[in-house]
C-alpha cells in the first residue's frame, strides 16, 4: 500500500535532486513522443541530445546558446526570488538590443577601444528602461506585472521590425530587413578561431558571480528572500518594498539587455528581425530548473541549450520538426513542478496490513 505523508520540513536533498529527476522524466516522455511520431526513440534522443555536442564546434554552439539563457535566468532569479513575476525578459532583451544596436550604428565605420564598452552599456540601459515600465506600473499603479511585461514583448518586436525595415535598414541592403554591419570595434571578440563562441560568455559568468554574492552575502539578498517568503513579514520588518521591486526589475532588465547585446554584437554583427529564438521565455524555465541558484542556473542553461541544438540537428538528420525543442522545454518545467510535490510530501510504501 502506498501512503502519502506530509514532511515536517521541505527536504533540502530533494530540492536539488528533483531537477535531475525532471530531466530524466522529460527524456522518457520525449522518447515516447518520438515513438508515437514513428521514430526510433533511442536514435532520436541520441540525435537530439548527444550528436549536437559531440565535437568542438558543437560544444562552442552549446555555450553560445547557453550564454544568453544563463544571463537572463540570473536576472530573472532576482525577480522570482522576491515574488515579482517578470515574464517579459524577451522584450527587455529586444529593447536592449535595439538601443545597443542603435549606438553601434552611430559608430558605423569608426574604430576605437571605447566603442564596445559604450555599446554594451547602452544595451544594459535599454533593458533596464524597458523593465522599468512594468516595475513602475506595478509599484505606483498597482498594475499586474505579468500582463504588462508580456504585452511589452509584442511591442518591442514590432519596434524592432519597424526600425530594421524602415529608418535603420541598410541603404545598400536591397531592402532586406536588416541594418548595416557594425564596425569591428562594436563587436564582441570571438574567443577561438573558427568557432562562434564570443566574449559574451564572460558577461554571463560575471553575472553568476555577482548574483551569488548578492544573494548570499548581502542584506539586499536577505531582504529579497524574506519578501519572497512573505510580503507581510517584509513589510513588518520595514523593508522598502517599492524600492526593491524596482531594483530587481532593473537588474533583470539589465541582464536581459546584455543578453540582447551578446546576440547582435556577437556572431551576427547587425540588427535584424529575429534576434532571439525566444531566449527570454526559455530563460524562465532555466531559472526554475536551476532552482534560482546561480550555480544551478549554469547547469540548467547548458541542459536547456541542448534542446535548441538538438531540435536543429534532429530536424536535419531525422526530419523531426524543430518545435520539438519547445515541447521538451515545456515538459521539463511540467515535470520539475510536478516533482516538487516530493519536497513537501513523502511517499511511503507500507506492507498491506489491515
Amino acid at each position: 500500500m502506498i501512503k502519502i505523508v506530509k514532511r515536517d520540513q521541505p527536504s533540502r536533498a530533494i530540492f536539488f535532486f528533483t531537477p535531475v529527476l525532471a530531466i530524466f522524466l522529460t527524456l522518457v516522455a520525449g522518447g515516447l513522443i518520438f515513438f508515437i511520431l514513428g521514430f526510433k526513440p533511442f536514435e532520436a534522443l541520441k540525435f537530439f541530445f548527444i550528436v549536437p555536442i559531440a565535437d568542438k564546434y558543437g560544444f562552442s554552439e552549446l555555450l553560445l546558446k547557453a550564454t544568453p539563457l544563463c544571463l537572463i535566468a540570473i536576472g530573472l532569479s532576482f525577480c522570482f526570488k522576491s515574488n515579482n513575476w517578470n515574464i517579459g525578459a524577451e522584450g527587455q532583451l529586444t529593447f536592449g538590443a535595439i538601443v545597443s544596436g542603435g549606438v553601434a550604428l552611430l559608430f558605423y565605420e569608426q574604430e576605437g577601444f571605447y566603442i564596445l564598452p559604450i555599446v554594451i552599456l547602452a544595451g544594459a540601459i535599454g533593458g533596464m528602461l524597458y523593465a522599468s515600465i512594468p516595475a513602475i506600473l506595478k509599484t505606483y499603479f498597482n498594475t499586474n506585472e505579468i500582463l504588462v511585461s508580456l504585452m511589452l514583448v509584442y511591442v518591442s518586436k514590432l519596434i524592432l521590425d519597424y526600425l530594421v525595415v524602415g529608418p535603420w535598414s541598410n541603404p545598400e541592403g536591397f531592402n532586406f530587413p536588416e541594418t548595416r554591419q557594425f564596425s569591428d570595434s562594436a563587436k564582441l571578440p570571438l574567443l577561438f578561431e573558427g568557432l562562434r563562441i564570443h566574449a559574451g560568455i564572460f558577461l554571463a559568468l560575471a553575472a553568476v558571480i555577482v548574483s551569488w554574492f548578492v544573494f548570499y552575502k548581502t542584506y539586499l539578498g536577505f531582504q529579497m528572500k524574506v519578501s519572497g517568503f512573505s510580503l507581510k513579514t517584509a513589510k513588518y520588518a520595514g523593508y522598502k518594498g517599492k524600492k526593491m521591486i524596482i531594483l530587481v526589475f532593473l537588474i533583470s532588465g539589465a541582464c536581459a539587455g546584455l543578453a540582447g547585446v551578446g546576440e547582435i554584437t556577437g556572431p551576427i554583427g547587425q540588427l535584424h528581425r529575429e534576434i532571439s529564438p525566444d531566449y527570454g521565455f526559455t530563460a524562465i524555465i532555466v531559472a526554475f530548473l536551476g532552482r534560482l541558484h546561480p550555480v544551478g542556473i549554469i547547469f540548467a542553461s547548458l541542459v536547456v541549450a541542448i534542446t535548441y541544438l538538438g531540435a536543429e540537428t534532429a530536424q536535419i538528420f531525422m526530419q523531426i520538426p524543430k518545435y520539438t525543442g519547445q515541447v521538451f522545454q515545456g515538459m521539463i518545467l511540467f515535470f520539475l513542478l510536478a516533482s516538487d510535490y516530493l519536497l513537501f510530501f513523502k511517499i511511503k510504501f507500507i506492507g498491506s496490513k489491515k
Partner: protein, 310 residues
C-alpha cells in the same frame, strides 16, 4: 463622400467577429479565476484548440467533430494544468507558463502537415435576412453559430454566477476555499471542473480562429490573443458583461488597423499592430489604479493553492 449605411454595419459586424475569440476565452478564464485558479495557459490552450479544430476538420471533413474535438483538446491540455495545480499543488503562474510554451510547441509539431491547406467554408445562419434591414441586418444576421454562442455567453455566465446554486458554489470556492470546504463542498473537484471548462472555451476560441475567422492553419496564429483575453478578465473586474465591452474595444482596434491601411493613413503598420497591446497596458493601469476596487472584485483566493491538510 457618401458612406453607405450598410458598410458601417459591415464594419461593426467585423469588429464583433474579431471580438468572438476574446469573449470565448475570457468568459472561460473568468469562471476558472472565479473558482480561485489563475490559469496563464490561455494562449497555449487556444493554439491547441486552433490546430485540433483545423486538423480534425481536414482529416474527418466534419465541422461538428472538429469544433467539439477542439473543445475536447482544450479540456485535455487543461487537465495537465488541473492535475499539477490541484493535485500536486504547484504554483499557478509557473504551471500556466509551462502550459503555454508546451501548447505552442505541440501545436506547431502537429500543424507541420497542415500548413498551406485551405480551410473549409463554415455555414452561416440567417444569411437571407442580411439585406432586409439596413445597418442592423449585416450586424445581426449571416454569422456562424459560434458567433451567436459567443455573444450569448457573457449573459449566460453572468446568470450562472449570480442566480444559480452552482454559480454560488464556484464563487464560494474562489472567495473562501476554507469555509467552502467546511460546508462540505469539494473544493478541489469544483476547481478541477472550472479549469476544464476554461480549457474547453479556450479550445473553442482557437477553433473559431482557424476554422471560421481565418480558415487556415498558421503557426502561432493566436498571436497573443490568449494574453489579451487574460487582461480582459482583469479589465472586466471579473464581471462577464464587461468582458463584452472590453472585447469589442479590442476587436475595434484590430479592425481599425486594416481600415487605416486601406484608406492610406501614413502610420507605419507596426504601430497600428502594436496598438492593441499598448491599449491593453493603458487600460490595465487605469483599472488597477484604484487598488480598493480591484481588491473588492478579485476572487480572494485567486492564484493561491488550497490543500486540505493546510
Amino acid at each position: 463622400m457618401i458612406i453607405d449605411i450598410n458598410f458601417i454595419g459591415l464594419i461593426i459586424a467585423s469588429i464583433m467577429a474579431s471580438a468572438v475569440p476574446l469573449i470565448l476565452a475570457s468568459c472561460g478564464e473568468l469562471i476558472t479565476e472565479r473558482s480561485g485558479v489563475l490559469n496563464l495557459g490561455v494562449e497555449g490552450m487556444m493554439i491547441i484548440g486552433a490546430i485540433s479544430g483545423f486538423a480534425l476538420m481536414t482529416v474527418t471533413g466534419s465541422l461538428i467533430i472538429a469544433i467539439f474535438g477542439a473543445m475536447l483538446a482544450g479540456v485535455l491540455i487543461s487537465t495537465i494544468f488541473a492535475f499539477l495545480t490541484q493535485t500536486l499543488i504547484t504554483n499557478h503562474v509557473a504551471t500556466g507558463l509551462a502550459l503555454t510554451i508546451f501548447g505552442i510547441g505541440i501545436s506547431a509539431m502537429i500543424g507541420k502537415n497542415f500548413v498551406g491547406i485551405p480551410g473549409k467554408e463554415f455555414p452561416v445562419l440567417f444569411e437571407n435576412l442580411k439585406d432586409t434591414i439596413p445597418l442592423i441586418g449585416p450586424i445581426l444576421f449571416g454569422h456562424s453559430i459560434v458567433f451567436y454562442f459567443a455573444f450569448a455567453l457573457p449573459f449566460v455566465t453572468n446568470y450562472f454566477l449570480k442566480k444559480t446554486k452552482l454559480g454560488l458554489i464556484v464563487r464560494a470556492v474562489g472567495d473562501s476555499p476554507v469555509s467552502a470546504s467546511n460546508q462540505g463542498i469539494k473544493v478541489r473537484l469544483v476547481r478541477y471542473l472550472c479549469i476544464l471548462y476554461g480549457g474547453a472555451m479556450s479550445g473553442l476560441a482557437g477553433a473559431y480562429l482557424s476554422m471560421i475567422y481565418t480558415p487556415q492553419w498558421i503557426e502561432n496564429m493566436t498571436g497573443g490573443r490568449g494574453w489579451i483575453a487574460l487582461a480582459l478578465v482583469v479589465f472586466s473586474t471579473w464581471n462577464p458583461i464587461k468582458i463584452l465591452i472590453g472585447a469589442m474595444i479590442f476587436g475595434g482596434l484590430t479592425i481599425i488597423q486594416f481600415h487605416m491601411q486601406a484608406i492610406g493613413v501614413r502610420i507605419p503598420v507596426q504601430f497600428l499592430t502594436a496598438l492593441p497591446y499598448i491599449v491593453t497596458i493603458i487600460v490595465l493601469v487605469v483599472i488597477s489604479r484604484d487598488s480598493r476596487k480591484i481588491r473588492l472584485s478579485t476572487p480572494s483566493s485567486l492564484g493561491k493553492s488550497f490543500h486540505k491538510d493546510n
